[in-house]
Symmetry: C2
Subunit: 125 residues, 2 copies
């Protein structure tokens, strides 16, 4: 149903087997048989995943009838990354807030630790 | 069918309306009615999208029965970004190659330009 490029990309990535296939292709071209090996899957099942990836422009396939090696095409991943870019500040802000919070806890603990040794000194002195 | 977190995230992002809802939430909390406004959609249709986003952990909703404002939760987007991270070098490499190619063309054009003026000098001299 989804026709826009970004939706097609995200839909193609919404499957662990397809993501594993892309991960495998980061180390170079591979045939369908090679790609099927690590998965307990029939060749037609793998071919179906490859078709989804190909339609999404995430892989390209060689033209030779017998040996049609697949290779990674990173363009749509860049577009997905560009989309995520604008949300980066939100998780960075969250981490900043977490940092602040942890900083405060540490300061408080340090202060408490200081107080404790101070009390000890007071007692000892 | 998909149960892993990353697949759930990508599936939730694979829809332009859901991405538009997230974009709206970058400027602050909003009620379902407010979120529905820019779309020509019924409230139940928008609610359905919100449920997908909520299940994916991309939004959180207030507890008040009447006014249940939605807010963005960027955590899963960070995980998606982390996944994309390892592919970054592939599109950067492609751009490097394009840069190299353009550089070569410019060098060649410069050389041709130089040759032309050299020829002119030869003629004039």
């Amino acid at each position: 149903m989804t026709t826009d490029t970004l939706s097609t990309t995200f839909a193609a990535l919404a499957d662990p087997t397809r993501r594993a296939i892309l991960a495998r292709l980061t180390s170079g071209e591979a045939s369908v048989t090679e790609l099927a090996q690590p998965f307990e899957m029939t060749l037609p099942a793998v071919s179906k995943h490859l078709k989804v990836l190909e339609r999404a422009g995430l892989i390209a396939r060689g033209r030779e009838a017998q040996w049609r090696p697949c290779r990674l095409k990173a363009g749509p991943l860049k577009d997905a990354d560009d989309w995520l870019e604008r949300y980066r500040r939100f998780w960075e802000e969250s981490f900043d807030r977490l940092d602040e919070y942890l900083g405060e806890i540490q300061k408080r603990e340090k202060k408490q630790g200081h107080n404790t040794s101070q009390e000890k000194e007071d007692k000892d002195g």
